[in-house]
Every structure is written in C-alpha cells, then in structure tokens.
C-alpha cells in the first residue's frame, strides 16, 4: 500500500526543533534545503553527547574516552560508507564537497594532469566543481572544457560524446544540479567517460541527501558529498574513491595523523583513508553525521525521493499557475530533484526573497554559486525553492501566497 509508505510529515517535523520557531511572527517555511538542511534532535543530541560524555582525540588515545571516541568516529565512517555502497577504507572524511574536489585536484590532479590534457566539466556545475579544475588547469597546463545543455536543462549527450572524443584525462560532473534540479544518469556518464579513458569525479552534494545512491553501481572514480545538506552538521563531508585509487595518490594536507613514520628528511604515509585526514579530525561532526545517516535510513531513501517527487509535482503545478513565473530545468519530475529555480516577472530575486521572508518563507536568491549556468540561462539571478523530508504541501501553499503578495506589491 502506497499510503502506508508515505512520510508522515507532521510527525517527522516534530523531530526538528527549529521548525517550531517563528520568523517575523509567521510559521517558518524553510525552502532553502539545497543550501543547507535543518538538523533533527538526534543529530544535535549526538553532538552534545560527544562533548559532554566522551570528548577526546581519536586513534592515538589508549584511555577509555579515546577508545569510545574512536569507536564512534570509525563507526560513523562505516555507516556513512554503507549508506552510499562504499567500503569504509575508501571514504575520506573532509569538510564538505568543496574540500573533496580540492583534495582530488591536488592529490590526484598534480600527479596525473599534464600540459595539453583535457578536463571536462558541464555547464550546470556548482563553482566547487569548476574552480578547483580551473586552478589545476593553471598549474598543469591542462585545458578545461564544458559540456553543453539541452534547452530543457538536461545534459547534451551529443556535446558530451564530442568532448569524450578528445580523450579527456578527467571528467567531473554533478549528479544533480543545485539550480535546475536535473538528475544526471551518473552510471551512464561514468561508463562513457571510462570507455574514453577518463578518470571520473561525481559531485553528489545534491544527490546523496535526496535519493538512493550506490557508488558501486555508478562506478565513479571519485564521489563527493556534504553532511550539512543531509541533516548532518556543517564542516563534515565525504570523498569516496574507487578501490585502490587512494593508495596511488599522494597526500593532500600533511602533518599529524596522516603519517606512519617521520624521519628528519622524509616521512612515510599512514594507511588509507587516514593518509588523507591530516591533523586532529572533525570528530564531533563526523560522529553526528552518522546520526544523520541513521535518521535518513530510518525513513528510507526511496521514501525520501517519493516524498520530494510528490512535492515537486504539486509545486510545479501551483507555481506555473502564477502569471509571470518562469521555471528553469526539466519539467519531467523523474529527471528532477526537489529544486525549483524561477524568476517572477521583473521582480528581482533579492526583492522577492525580502518579501517572502516577511511571510516566514525562506528561499534562496542569487546566482547559486553557478555563474556559468546563470549565463547559459541568460539571467543575472534566480529565486530557488528546494525541498526536503520535512516540507509539506502547506509549505508550497505558503510559497505561492507569498509570491502572489510580491506580485501585488510590485504591481505585476
């Protein structure tokens, strides 16, 4: 029965203390989940429990607190890896997706990229999957090229194939666009890139929180995501590498934790993944990410996805009924995550966001850290509503009412 499988939003909302606060006297309608999500009480409790109960450094402390902290931190690594179908030793904890792409840019890129090599990204990338490759291209003399898009905001496979014929060394693309919501067929794109001899990196920041992801099935070389976009704390994320790849790479940052032996003039490296976790790691947030994974597992990622598709269907229907609204990205919700970017008549997104905020509705406005994509859309900025497990049809109604209010103020 489908009904019994649907998320009970009202019950679930009670797990998120922030959702009961008021904004400007109105109920908080939080629709900025592509930027960062809210945390359930279990994640907050996990942080408090660590600091008040077993705060200690990990890996090297023999005392009880150290052993408890190590078990919790490594337990979280196991959970997080299993959540995306990876082995724990192939998962490096990083600050977030941005640190993951930078890690690959330096630790893999500097060793493998040569003058004249081609790096392929797509026009729908977040800056975190563009700028590290621009910098790598500068350091190595490689050339950065962009896959084009179809008018509906899906990836232009013809353009992708054409660039693959140039035998790129690296193909880096997003699993899911943070602006268009477009879901790329990551497994297919990785297979095509692999066939062309390229190493692949998939930015999963907008995918892992919102749909089942199996990095084994995708068969990417690198897959990156952020904890704070999946109910976890800020400052923690993961880079997952294909088996064997981390061993071949040089370290990224160096110092404590990541060494095996240090001599006066040289050092040897710790086993993976510790070789890539220099210095005291982000223990508390790493452990709390495990609590977020547990929470999402308890809901089930299939149900998370189904809930967002239901919200998308409803919201796209409601919003397109407003005269003057232009939606960006694929209209087929099977190809789209719970992200709706739009513009409304000649109301600038920042003016719209100001008016919506007055109604308690939090959306994002601006270029969404995707300026090449904004140029492709030929707009200086856009408004974006993005959904998560705790959003309801009521939230969509509140969004629509607030946009209509903006329409009255701006005399659209």
């Amino acid at each position: 029965m489908l009904e019994s499988k649907a998320i009970d939003v009202e019950r679930l909302r009670a797990d998120f203390p922030i959702l009961s606060r008021k904004v400007r006297g109105k109920r908080l309608v939080y629709l900025d989940n592509a930027a960062t999500t809210q945390r359930p009480q279990v994640v907050i409790d996990s942080l408090v429990r660590f600091y008040s109960n077993y705060n200690s450094n990990v890996h090297r402390s023999v005392h009880t607190l150290g052993e408890e902290a190590t078990a919790a931190y490594e337990g979280s690594r196991k959970k997080t890896a299993a959540f995306v179908g990876a082995r724990p030793q192939d998962l490096v904890f990083v600050r977030g997706t941005t640190e993951a792409t930078n890690l690959v840019s330096f630790a893999w890129g500097d060793k493998n990229m040569k003058k004249g090599d081609v790096i392929v990204v797509t026009t729908m990338e977040h800056h975190s999957n563009i700028v590290p490759w621009q910098m790598l291209a500068k350091r190595s003399g490689a050339i950065l090229k962009y896959v084009g898009l179809n008018p509906d905001g899906t990836l232009d496979l013809g353009s992708f194939e054409a660039l693959l014929r140039e035998a790129p060394r690296l193909v880096a693309f997003t699993h899911c666009s943070n602006v268009l919501g477009t879901i790329n067929d990551a497994a297919k794109l990785c297979a095509m890139a692999k066939e062309a001899g390229a190493t692949t990196l998939v930015d999963g920041a907008q995918a892992v929180p919102h749909m089942p992801v199996d990095v084994g099935a995708i068969d990417s070389d690198f897959y990156a995501f952020s904890g704070h976009k999946m109910l976890g704390p800020t400052g923690i994320g993961a880079l997952v590498a294909r088996r064997g790849l981390l061993e071949e790479m040089d370290p990224f940052q160096t110092g404590g934790e990541m060494i095996r032996e240090v001599f006066d003039d040289h050092s040897t490296w710790n086993d993976i993944p510790y070789k890539f976790e220099a210095g005291t790691v982000n223990i508390a947030d790493g452990i709390a990410l495990g609590a977020a994974v547990d929470y999402l597992e308890s809901i089930g990622m299939e149900r998370v996805r189904a809930h967002e598709v239901s919200l998308l269907d409803y919201a796209m229907n409601e919003l397109t009924a407003i005269r003057g609204i232009r939606l960006y990205g694929p209209m087929d919700t099977r190809l789209r995550a719970g992200v709706i970017s739009f513009n409304y008549a000649d109301v600038h997104p920042h003016d719209l966001a100001t008016i919506l905020d007055e109604e308690g509705v939090a959306i994002r406005s601006g270029h969404h850290c995707a300026q090449p994509l904004m140029r492709w859309l030929d707009v200086p900025a856009a408004s974006r509503a993005s959904f998560y497990v705790y959003n309801s049809h009521d939230d969509v109604d509140a969004l629509k009412l607030a946009i209509e209010k903006a329409g009255r103020i701006f005399k659209v």
């Binding site: 003016d351 100001t354 008016i355 406005s365 270029h367 904004m374 200086p380 900025a381």
Partner: protein
C-alpha cells in the same frame, strides 16, 4: 517596517524608469563595482565641470529594485554638486533619500552600492583612495 513600505511607489518607479540611465561621452570619472552576494552591478560615469562640480552624471547597471533605484536617485542628487559633496556623503544620506526604509543587514548593501561606486570614482579622480566601510560584502 514591512516590505510594502520598502517597495513604495517611488522605489518601484525608479526601478522601472531609472533616471540618468545610460552612458556619457567625454567622461572624467568612470567607476564600476558589483555586489558579489547579489550580483548587483552599477557603473557610474561623471563629467566634471571647470569649477570641480559634477556637470553630468549617468549610470548603468542591473540588479534588484533597491540597488538600481538607489543609484538612479543618487545621480539625480549629485548632478550640479561639487566633488567635495560626494566626499562628505554618508550612508544616512542614502537612507534618507530612499525614505528611510528598514532594509535589514542583508539588503543595506544593495542600497549603498551606488554610493560606493560614486565615492570610489570621485576619490580616485581627486587622487585619494576610498576605504569602503559599508557596502563591502563577503563573497
């Protein structure tokens, strides 16, 4: 103060029908800046008269209603004024010009971008450096 007060008739009018919008010929001062947070963009051009007065001033740009209306209104105020007037301009003058809306910290920078651009240009023309305190934003 509600958004209905911020987006009064006056602001919307200047947003949709900006005064002094366009480019000048034979300019003495040309200054451009963006608000990286919003992507607001303002360029102001000034022709300076013999008596160190702003003989002609125009602006171009794109962005939110507040940034564009504010820049447009500022050019109207500045026309005919001595360059020294620009040096003495403070953010409170801009707020007053806009009707003192309560913009909140995230939108104040939109309102002040035009003043920042004008001041940067005029300071440069006078051989000085304008250290912005108000309109700078984190990226």
């Amino acid at each position: 103060m509600s958004s209905a007060d911020i987006y009064r008739e006056l602001i919307l009018d200047y947003y949709r029908n900006p005064r002094n919008f366009g480019k000048l010929e034979n300019v003495d001062i040309s200054s451009r800046d963006t608000n990286p947070l919003c992507g607001d963009e303002i360029e102001i051009q000034v022709r300076v008269g013999e008596d160190q007065k702003i003989e002609e001033v125009k602006f171009t740009g794109k962005g939110c209603a507040i940034s564009q209306a504010s820049a447009s209104m500022l050019t109207e105020l500045a026309k005919g004024k001595p360059l020294e007037w620009v040096k003495e301009l403070v953010k409170e003058d801009v707020f007053e010009m806009l009707g003192n809306p309560d913009l909140g910290p995230s939108r104040v920078k939109c309102a002040l971008l035009g003043m920042k651009v004008l001041k940067t240009g005029v300071y440069g023309y006078l051989g000085a450096h304008y250290e912005d305190q108000d309109a700078s934003t984190p990226p």
